[in-house]
Every structure is written in C-alpha cells, then in structure tokens.
Amino acid sequence: MSVARPAARRLLSGRLAAGSGAASCAAAPATATCHQLGFAHQFHSSPQLSARRKPRFANVRAADMGLMDEKQIDQFTKEQFPKYTQEEIDHLRTKYSPAQIAALEAGEAAIDPRDLTVQGRLRVDPYTMPYIDDFAETQPIIDKRAKNQEAPDPLARFMNMDEFTADLVEWADKFQEGEVTGKLKTPADFVSDEFKKKPEGQWPGEVREAAHKAFQSYLEGEMSKQAANPEDTSGPTDADILQYILERSGMTDKNRTTDSSLALALPSKVPGVAGMYKNAIDPEDHGLDDIGIYQDLKRRTGLRVKDILNLHSKQLVQRRVANQTRLGKVQKASIMYVVGNGNGWLGIGEAKSTEPSIAGLKARLLAIRNMRPIRRYENRTIYGSVTAKVSGTVVKMNARPPGFGLRVSHRIFEMCRAAGIQDLAANIPRSRNPMNTVKAAYWALCNQPDPERMAIGRGKKMVDVRKVYYGGATL
C-alpha cells in the first residue's frame, strides 16, 4: 500500500493511533491523559517533554521577600490614595456639573486603590512624557488650542439699515454717563400742528422747505454747542470708537465670538441659487454628453449631440511646436482636424495644447464650429476648376465626370470624403506643406465659381445641358 496517497495515509494513521491507544489503556487503565496523548499530533521533530521545564535559577516570590505584606499595602494605599472626603466632594460639586461628578465617581469606583499600590508605577522608559500631568490644564506648546467657543452663527447675515441703527444705539447706550442731553428734534417739530400728524411726503412745498431750513439751523446750533464744550468727557472715547470699528460684527450674530474666523461652508444646495450655477445634463442628449463637451457647440450650431457625434471627422495634420522662453522650450502639439457631414458641409479647425488629446478635441470642436456649406455640382464634384494658393502651396482642383473617383492626395481625399465629393482631380504643383495644403484646399472648395451668378452678371439665360438630355436624368 502506498503511504503517499492522502486517503491511505489518513487511514493508516487512524489505525496506528487506535492500536496504540488501546494497548496503553490496557496497561494503565482509567487514565484520561492516555486517551489525549493517543490523539495528540506532533507537528515538530523535537521530543515531547514529560513535564513543565524547571527554570535553571529559581525565582523568589515577592511575598517571601516581605514585599507583599498585606498590612503594609493597606497602609500605603490609605496614605497615598485616600478616598475623597465629603468636604472635597462638596467642593468639587461647585466646580463640576452633576454629570461630571457622576463620571468622577464612576472612575473612582472602577479603580481599586490597592491595584495602584501593587501595579501602579511611575514610568522611567525612554518614551515617558517629560512631565507628570493630569491633563487638568492645556499647555499652549504641547496641546492643541481648546475650542470652547460656539461655531459661527449659520444664519448670520449682514445687518440692514434698521438693524445696524439698533445695534449702534445699543452700543452707544453703554456710554450714557454725565449730563443727559435729551432727544434730538426732527423736522416734524418745526411745522404747525395740522401737518405734524401727516407724513413728510404730504406737506406742501413751502412748509417742507421752511421746516428743513429751521431743522438745519437747529442742527448747526447743537453742533456748535458741543464744539464749545470740548471738556465734556462723557460718551465714548476714541479707543472705544476704534474698538467699535474694528471688532464690532457687522452681521446679525449678536457679536458672537467664535474659535474660527471662517463662516460655515455653503450647503450643497443654496436655496434660490440651486440649479443656476451648475449646468444640468440635458435630457435631450439621451446621455450622450454627460461631461458637457458639446453643450457650447450645441448652443452655437443648433445641432443635436447625436448629429455632432455622427459627423465625419479626421485628424489631418499633427506636429510639435515649441515656444522658446527663458525657462526653456515649451512643447505643444498643433493639430488640424477636418469635419464634414458627408453631405456638402465641411470645416477645418486648428488648435494647440501641451496635451495632444486636448489639442485634438479643441481642433475638432473648432472644425465643427467652422463648418460651411461647400458647393457641389450634382452632389458629387465641384464647379469648374479652382486654384488656391496659401504661402508657397498651390492647390489646383478640377471637376470630373461621374465615376472618375477621387484622384487627389490623401489629405484632400479625406476632405472630399468628409464633404461628400466623389469625383475630383487635384494636384499640388509646388510646395506640399501639409497644413497649407489643407488650408488651400479648403479655400478652393469654398470659393468655386458660381454659374448662376455669372449668368446674372452677363444677363444671359443659363441651361445645364446635362439636365436636358435623357429626360434630365443625371447620375
């Protein structure tokens, strides 16, 4: 029998264990340990010890040394950790709230003073705090500053004129000392009795004018009276006024002092502003533009996001450009995109960014914005022949018959495909700069001759003979 097989090994070990157990039990009956030993697994190769190992050097018990004398412990405990006396408890009650007193009592009850004597010790290890502290008071260098004050008033707002006046009067009332000067008169005190009850707006013009004039002279008299008596020290001092200006709160929080100079943060939804500061996802997009890339484009062009995504776009030119600054070269990617709807609309866009993907996105969005209608003859080729020149690049384009195909360079091919032109011949006789090629081709496509316009200019009737033969049928 192979012992390597797990099932066989399990069976074998079970047999051996049962056999040895039965044998030893027969030799020394009624021993519980025998049964346990029989099933004990040995996980290491060192021999099992028959009993606990004895230490080589015997320890001496504390009680044997006279250290654990119960009398001495009790005496030490009573001396060092006495219970609170009734006087002390009464004094504590004046300092702490009932809840705190309850917590103190619970803490006292939880710790046995004897344990403090036997087990408690002062730490001498290197990580000991360098002071003995009961944390009764904060230390400015070590501890964080206590925050005892309330948080700022969440409902505080700036005072309106009436509240401000009331607040000012309240402040000024603190300085009511010395001679009472009485209340100031108002313009209503300077008119006859019949107008006194009416509001000022209903007074006749001359009455109002006379009243204001008298009131003005009264105010000036009061002012000069005060100026004539500079020794009058009643009322706020300059320091009080300065303190009022610097420290008085302008909000409706009753001058509440707080630990924080920061007001509470705005809630996630500010009432009255909610929904106005965040662009909501337009349900018309059907989840196609949750990031909001096309929202601006949608507004500018009037296209739907679905249509924008269906436009035929192609990156035509990519190159690295660098701006030499005093800090070194700033590399950017310059990308040109062409976008068309495959049915007579075409646009090109050029954008730069340090990140090529962003430059591509910007260029594509610009190209969509720049889309313009391209004149197409029979929706397949251009009108006549056009030549365009941008810098040293000349692009010549010629209309071709149906089935001719696009015999043009690859960039112009992509432009034709995006615009929906199927038959065209083009050549670039001079410089073949990629970017200028695209620009010149776009200019040529946008500036084709217009036969209708020519006919109107010359006063001629124009007939397209291709639409005369075969019953006007064209490809």
Partner: protein, 161 residues
C-alpha cells in the same frame, strides 16, 4: 496698330475692372470697336460709346455716339466702355490676349469646336466654366459660340472669364 492695339485694350480692360472703375476708354480703332461690341453682346460690358477725350455725361452713355465723327475730331475720338459689376464683384475677372503681334493664333472651325468643349488645341487651352473666347473672323469679331453657329474660324483674340 493691328493686333497690338487689341492686346493693349484687353490688358487695359482687365486693369480697369480690377481697379473697380465704372467707365474707361480705349483708343477708337475699328478692331477695338468690334471687340468692344462683341464683349457687349456677350454681356461682359455695360455700354460702348464713342466720345471725346473727356468722359461722356451719363445720359450720353445710352447712345452709341455723343457727336458725329468728322475729319476734324476723329483723331480725338475714344471708345468709352461702361464696366459691369454684380454683387460687388466685377463681371469680368480676367482678360488675357491669345494672339500677340509676335504670334498670331488662328483656329479652324473643328479646332474651335474642340476648344469650346473644353479640350486644348495647340496653344489654345480648353474653355473652362464661365470662360469665353473671342475670334476675329471675316464676319467680324465673334464670340466662340457665335463663330460655331456661323461655322467660321479665324484669329483668336482673347480669352475672357
């Protein structure tokens, strides 16, 4: 003068159009007159008026002549051409002479037919969209399609587009 006068007139006409002039004048020769009338028939210029060295008044542009030509004033006569514009752009964009005094270019009827269909014949390039060719024939100066109607060939004067 011969053909050189026509070449000069062609260049002058193109320059005047590009300078957005309303009225210009060319020397009063029979060749120029025939070309001007052919251009007028083709709708490329607005009016042809024979006048003096000063531009004729606007009302005189409706007539062909401001005053009768006499031996006394014939030397000062000029052809005043009214130029055409449409949609803020000149109707004639380019006038280029084909025949020059150093090389007269003639075309037979079949050759003209080929050119009118857009194919090149010798030094004459095929006509493109909106282009016309003016041919001096024994029936006078004709546009290429008029010449084809009348089945005549001749000296190719200029190409106008």
């Amino acid at each position: 003068m011969g053909i050189s006068g026509v070449v000069n007139a062609c260049v002058h006409l193109q320059n005047s159009m590009r300078a957005s002039l309303g009225l210009t004048s060319i020397p009063n020769t029979k060749y120029n007159l025939r070309l001007a009338l052919a251009l007028h028939r083709a709708g490329l210029i607005a009016s042809v008026t024979r006048g003096g060295p000063r531009p004729p008044p606007p009302e005189a542009l409706l007539a062909t002549e401001t005053e009768p030509v006499t031996t006394a004033n014939v030397a000062t006569r000029r052809l005043w051409l009214g130029l055409k514009y449409w949609d803020n752009r000149p109707v004639v964009l380019s006038v280029s002479a084909v025949s020059k005094p150093s090389r007269l270019v003639t075309a037979t009827l079949p050759q003209l037919a080929k050119v009118a269909r857009g194919f090149p014949v010798g030094p004459i390039k095929g006509l493109n969209l909106g282009e016309t060719l003016f041919v001096s024939t024994d029936r006078g100066v004709l546009e290429v399609r008029e010449a084809l109607d009348r089945k005549v060939g001749g000296l190719v004067l200029c190409r106008v587009s």
